[in-house]
């Protein structure tokens, strides 16, 4: 009984092993049907801040609630780019302090207090120094 062997020389190059390559990619799961309809999330900063370069944040301070509903510790959004109009809530400076008042242009220029007894104080146009218009204020319902 004899068996025949074929001897093969070891070559430098290993023999090619051809494997099929699939050009199609296999999707893992299904693509989101919403993919073409993605919109960016709502952004509160965008809502409150129309002029970033002119917007400043101030903190309200005082014991009583104002007629506008503003309370102690609320965050005031001040937009200096907005032209103050009659009835606007504004931050003005008086006696070296920032104060929140309602601007009254008619019948006379005056600053009206937002807390009882809602006094209006006539003011000389030259002395009026408005820091900016309060466009929003943010009140946290839970105290920290």
């Amino acid at each position: 009984m004899s068996a025949s062997f074929t001897l093969q020389l070891a070559t430098d190059e290993p023999q090619d092993l051809a494997l099929p390559l699939f050009l199609e990619r296999v999707p893992a799961g299904f693509p989101s049907p919403a993919q073409d309809y993605i919109e960016s999330e709502l952004n509160l900063h965008q809502y409150c801040v129309r002029h970033p370069a002119a917007t400043f944040f101030l903190r309200a301070s005082g014991n009583s609630m104002t007629s506008a509903g503003m309370r102690d510790g609320d965050l005031l959004v001040i937009d200096r780019a907005v032209t103050p109009e009659h009835g606007d809530t504004i931050v003005a400076t008086a006696e070296g302090e920032f104060i929140v008042r309602q601007l009254q242009l008619r019948p006379r220029l005056a600053l009206r207090s937002l807390t009882p007894p809602y006094q209006a104080k006539d003011i000389n146009p030259d002395e009026l120094d408005i820091f900016g218009v309060v466009t929003h204020f943010i009140h946290s319902t839970r105290s920290k």
Binding site: H51, L58, R59, R80, G96, I99
Partner: protein, 424 residues
């Protein structure tokens, strides 16, 4: 046409915007470590307070009662500067931020719609309304002339802070230049002006009438450019994007002198971290890390010592850990016990745009794994304001930190520091 907008007594004005009680009061701002006066408003100027005067001397003269002094609050100044820049960018087509309080604007063609000075006044009104800061505006056919116009707008109040030098009104330009001392020109320092004065060139007009070739031969190409610019030939264009940095330096004077090695290590470690942050912002990799330490040269009876050492890395890096390690090696080579060190710093150089460099064939040094991701996380934590993380080598209790005893709140960058408005 160029315009130069600069904020009047910028640092002092930033402080005053949020302090209505300081309206009309003298205000000065002191340099880091509360050393010298680096900014003052016009009320402080009227009291005779000079730039560069040491604050302790002013205190001795009794100014601390009626003059309000602030430590430099760069967080606030940067925020306000960005606001001014944003307002100007909305109004002018191209803006170059030249310094924290000066911006060059390209205003070509504006005169098709409105007069240059009307436009300047519009800029002024808008910046004042939006930010509470007052700017002066100088305009001219070249940057140098715009700067001269801005100088004049401050010198003579009748211009109301806005002045344009146009080619249609050459007598005005000549008049102004004849009144401007040469040392007030953009790019002409005190040393250069001394040399010019010796040659009989005393005013800007004298310089404008000197032959450019003569200036190039006896001075430099840079000054020749100034001469040409004074004659209305624009040589220096607007630089909207700052050129890529060739070097990053982080250095500070200490609040109190450092005498022990451990504190110095902490300081260097902190500067290394800051330098790493800057490097990554620039999207660069560094291969050259230098450290310098020095004592104060002004103290009598002390021997001055200052030295610098540097490390060269095989692989370019932007990993803070590599930078700290190299900096520590460099520090060990130059540290000498017994000196009272006043200042130290770190320099990064030899930048590469990628971390790849010619590798040494036999080197087994490999870039750190996941370094990119780690640095990204660290930077993002430190910039969101959620908290601060740092390498332990910086330490926590730093007695040598910069002294800023008169620091104002960060009114625009920190929630707990925002100003208060009274509602009743």
């Amino acid at each position: 046409m160029f315009a130069l907008a600069d904020v009047n007594s910028f640092y002092a004005s930033c402080e005053q915007v949020f302090r209505p009680d300081l309206k009309g009061q003298p205000v000065v701002v002191a340099s880091n470590n509360d050393g010298c006066v680096i900014a003052r408003n016009k009320e402080a100027k009227a009291l005779g307070i000079k730039m560069g005067e040491p604050w302790f001397k002013l205190r001795e003269r009794g100014f601390s009662k009626n003059v309000h002094c602030f430590s430099s609050n760069y967080a606030l100044y940067h925020s306000m500067s960005q606001r001014v820049m944003a307002v100007l960018e909305a109004l002018a087509p191209r803006v170059e931020q030249y310094s924290i309080d000066e911006m060059f604007l390209d205003i070509r063609g504006i005169d098709h719609c409105m007069g240059f000075e009307d436009f300047g006044r519009q800029l002024r009104t808008q910046v004042k309304a939006y930010t509470g800061l007052t700017i002066g505006v100088g305009m001219g056919p070249t940057k140098t002339l715009a700067k001269s116009a801005q100088w004049a707008s401050k010198e003579w109040p009748q211009f109301g802070g806005v002045l344009a030098l146009t080619t249609s009104n050459p007598t005005r330009t000549l008049k102004l230049l004849s009144l401007q001392p040469v040392e007030e020109l953009w790019g002409v320092g005190r040393r250069l002006s001394k040399k010019l004065n010796a040659l009989g060139i005393a005013t800007a007009l004298d310089l404008a009438r000197t032959h450019p070739a003569f200036i190039r031969k006896n001075f430099s190409v840079v000054l020749e450019r100034t001469v040409r610019e004074l004659n209305g030939e624009s040589c220096i264009d607007l630089e909207e994007a700052p050129p890529t940095k060739q070097q990053i330096v982080v250095s500070r004077s200490f609040g109190s002198r450092i005498t022990d090695y451990e504190s110095m290590r902490q300081a260097i470690c902190q500067y290394a971290q800051r330098a790493g942050e800057k490097l990554r912002q620039e999207r660069q990799f560094t291969r050259h890390i230098g450290v310098f330490i020095k004592t104060s040269p002004f103290v009598e009876g002390e021997v001055y010592y200052g030295n610098v050492a540097s490390e060269k890395l095989l692989l370019p890096t932007r990993d803070t850990r590599d930078i700290i390690a190299a900096a520590m090696k460099a520090l060990d080579r130059i540290w000498i016990d017994g000196h009272r060190y006043a200042k130290a710093g770190i320099m990064l150089g030899d930048f590469f745009p990628t971390g790849v460099a010619q590798l040494n064939l036999f080197s087994d040094e490999q870039p750190r794994e996941n370094s990119e991701a780690l640095m990204k996380i660290i930077d993002s934590i430190n910039t969101t304001g959620l908290g601060q993380i740092w390498f332990a080598g910086k330490g926590v209790n730093q007695a040598w930190q910069m002294k800023r005893d008169m620091l104002s709140p960060s009114y625009t960058t920190c929630w707990k520091d925002i100003p208060v408005a009274r509602i009743h």
